[in-house]
């Protein structure tokens, strides 16, 4: 430091600290620097809140939020830039962000990377370059990036608009393969080491890999739903290896994804006859979730029609998939947009409300407990630890 004026900051500080030790100060001088570290294990009520901030897409983030704590709910955040994807490992102490940078912020040379964070320091510890400028960008969506085979491999969705799924080995940190999925989209973990994608003709594409990432099986199913008449949301919930896809008009389509070939099962209705007449429908962004008992929560709105499928809802309806029964209806305190249920002893239903604040309910009773404020500009995607 060449600047004499600044020396005084330090002499002042040193003077002040010395003084503090002599004049019987109430408060002692505090340590600098001082940076928090998350402790292991994470709270079971931790929620990853992915900010889909439209105002500043190049500067997004994922916030770690303890929804049960009585204070210090906000535990920290990761940066996540330019329509990024996020997923947390359950087996390793790693968090993954697939993101895109430009050398001049919004312009210049493009660089896509998979950034690997340490779970406790929240510092980036490694980076896997993603060549080709093909990373798929969409409003924050869980199924753009998934972990398979005990989190040993990562699936990443590309879109240029040629669609493909990349397979990345997280141990060697190498890209092993890329499977093109023309006319299809996203990656739903399937079988031992594979994925399925929904396709524009109402069918499904599916592929399996060996440990080296070679494709051992791939196939395209016959269409099993009508995109024209009643599209499936591309955001299923998993109960074990069964994926449940709600449709725009309130049918639930189970697909058994335990084997190499997806097995669509008979869809069933989320609605009673009267509810169907009143046009109750699923709607919102993250429209459905599942709890530790495998119960399915769906965000519902009345008077649905063409175009209302992202509008959110006033109620959350809870279903037991094994019996196809609805167990309860939770009337939300505030209009909801995205839903998630945290795991653990006490499970909490967390709802992103229309004001972009997070309402926390007891999952089993539906009782509203509190609002957690200003966590993110647009908390579209909520990821519980499960």
């Amino acid at each position: 430091m060449k600047n004499k004026a600044f020396g005084c900051i330090y002499s002042l500080c040193i003077g002040a600290v010395a003084l503090a030790q002599t004049v019987n100060a109430e408060l002692a001088a505090e340590n600098i620097p001082n940076v928090e570290r998350l402790s292991a294990p994470y709270s079971e009520n931790l929620l990853y809140v992915h900010d889909g901030d439209f105002e500043s897409i190049v500067a997004g983030k994922v916030v770690l939020l303890d929804v049960a704590a009585s204070s210090h709910n906000y535990k920290g955040a990761l940066d996540a830039a330019q329509f990024p994807s996020f997923i947390a490992s359950k087996r390793k102490d790693e968090l993954y962000v697939a993101e895109t940078f430009y050398s001049r912020g919004t312009r210049g040379e493009r660089t896509d990377v998979l950034t690997i964070y340490d779970k406790y320091s929240l510092k980036p510890v490694a980076e896997i370059p993603l060549p080709g400028g093909k990373r798929g960008m969409t409003v924050t969506h869980r199924y753009t990036m998934q972990l398979i085979d005990d989190d040993k491999y990562l699936l990443l969705f590309n879109f240029t608009p040629a669609a493909s799924i990349m397979l990345i080995d997280l141990q060697s940190r190498e890209i092993l393969n890329e499977v093109f999925i023309p006319g299809c989209s996203l990656a739903y973990p399937t079988g031992e080491r594979g994925f399925s994608s929904l396709c524009g003709n109402g069918s499904m594409f599916s592929a399996q890999f060996d440990k080296k990432g070679r494709v051992t099986h791939q196939e395209k199913l016959q269409p099993f739903f009508s995109v024209a008449k009643d599209p499936l949301f591309d955001k299923p919930v998993y109960v074990g290896a069964n994926a449940y896809f709600p449709s725009y008009k309130g049918q639930l389509y189970p697909v058994d994804l335990s084997g190499k070939t997806p097995q669509p099962k008979t869809p069933w209705s989320l609605l009673s006859a009267e509810e169907e007449t009143a046009n109750w429908r699923p709607g919102g962004w993250q429209i459905a979730t599942v709890d530790d008992e495998g119960l399915i929560y769906v965000l519902m709105h009345k008077d649905g029609l063409d175009g209302s499928h992202k509008g959110g809802g006033s109620e959350v309806w809870v279903y037991e998939p094994s019996t196809q029964k609805r167990l309860k209806k939770i009337t939300l305190r505030n209009w909801g947009v995205s839903v998630e249920v945290t795991g653990g002893k006490t499970q909490y239903l967390v709802v992103t409300n229309a004001d972009m604040q997070l309402d926390v309910y007891k999952a089993n009773s539906g009782e509203w407990l509190k609002m957690i404020g200003d966590v993110a500009a647009m908390p579209f995607s909520l990821h519980a630890i499960r």
């Binding site: 901030d53 439209f54 105002e55 500043s56 897409i57 190049v58 330019q82 329509f83 895109t100 430009y102 912020g105 919004t106 312009r107 210049g108 493009r110 960008m137 969409t138 409003v139 969506h141 879109f159 608009p161 669609a163 006319g183 299809c184 989209s185 996203l186 994608s197 929904l198 396709c199 524009g200 995109v227 024209a228 599209p231 499936l232 949301f233 591309d234 919102g284 709105h301 009345k302 008077d303 649905g304 029609l305 063409d306 175009g307 209302s308 499928h309 992202k310 509008g311 959110g312 006033s314 209009w335 947009v337 229309a354 004001d355 972009m356 604040q357 404020g373 200003d374 500009a377 647009m378």
Partner: protein, 186 residues
């Protein structure tokens, strides 16, 4: 995502309504005209032409074309029936042009929107304008005939800044391509 309209995000943080008509409730109320009270934010209400006075502090426009009614700075404007993003009309562009210094994406999603002037359905191409940071003005989301990402040509959640020098999204236009063959989804 109807909760997007009018709600500009951080707005959901400590929110003022002090000096102007900026209350979300007011906005919602406004859009509720003509639709069931149980869905306060129904986007389709806007398409019905019963929408309110638009975004506060944004001056009205017209496209200037005969047979093209409505105000391109308002979410209710007929071309916007499947739009998702900031209206370029509020950002230095128009309903069919990009703001200076941005690049119009050659790849787009498509909507089929009813022009109330002639009662015809038009194919609208929602070309994104790309290369500068989010405009931040007149956020509008409507989802008529919007399909999930697996039928991507009619999906508005995708970042359509593709085939451009930069994939950074600035705002969205609604360009008339022509009259639709039929009323159905493309």
């Amino acid at each position: 995502m109807k909760w997007l309209d009018g709600l500009t995000v951080k707005s959901s943080r400590h929110l003022a309504q002090s000096t102007s008509r900026r209350s979300l409730l007011t906005k919602l109320g406004m859009f509720a005209v003509g639709t069931a009270a149980s869905i306060p934010l129904l986007p389709v209400a806007r398409a019905s032409g019963t929408g309110g006075p638009g975004y506060p502090g944004v001056a009205p426009q017209t496209s200037g074309l005969p047979g093209d009614p409505g105000d391109p700075t308002q979410c209710e404007y007929w071309r916007y029936c499947a739009i998702d993003g900031f209206l370029c009309s509020c950002c230095g562009g128009t309903q069919n042009s990009c703001p200076p210094g941005t690049e119009m994406s050659p790849l787009t999603w498509i909507g089929t929107c009813l022009n109330p002037a002639d009662g015809k359905n038009y194919i609208i191409s929602y070309n994104d304008c790309c290369g500068k940071t989010s405009c931040g003005r007149c956020l509008c989301n409507r989802n008529e005939r919007d399909t999930p990402t697996y039928r991507v040509q009619t999906n508005n959640d995708t970042n359509w800044c593709l085939g451009t020098e930069s994939t950074v999204y600035t705002c969205s236009t609604g360009v008339v391509l022509g009259v639709a063959l039929d009323q159905g989804a493309p």
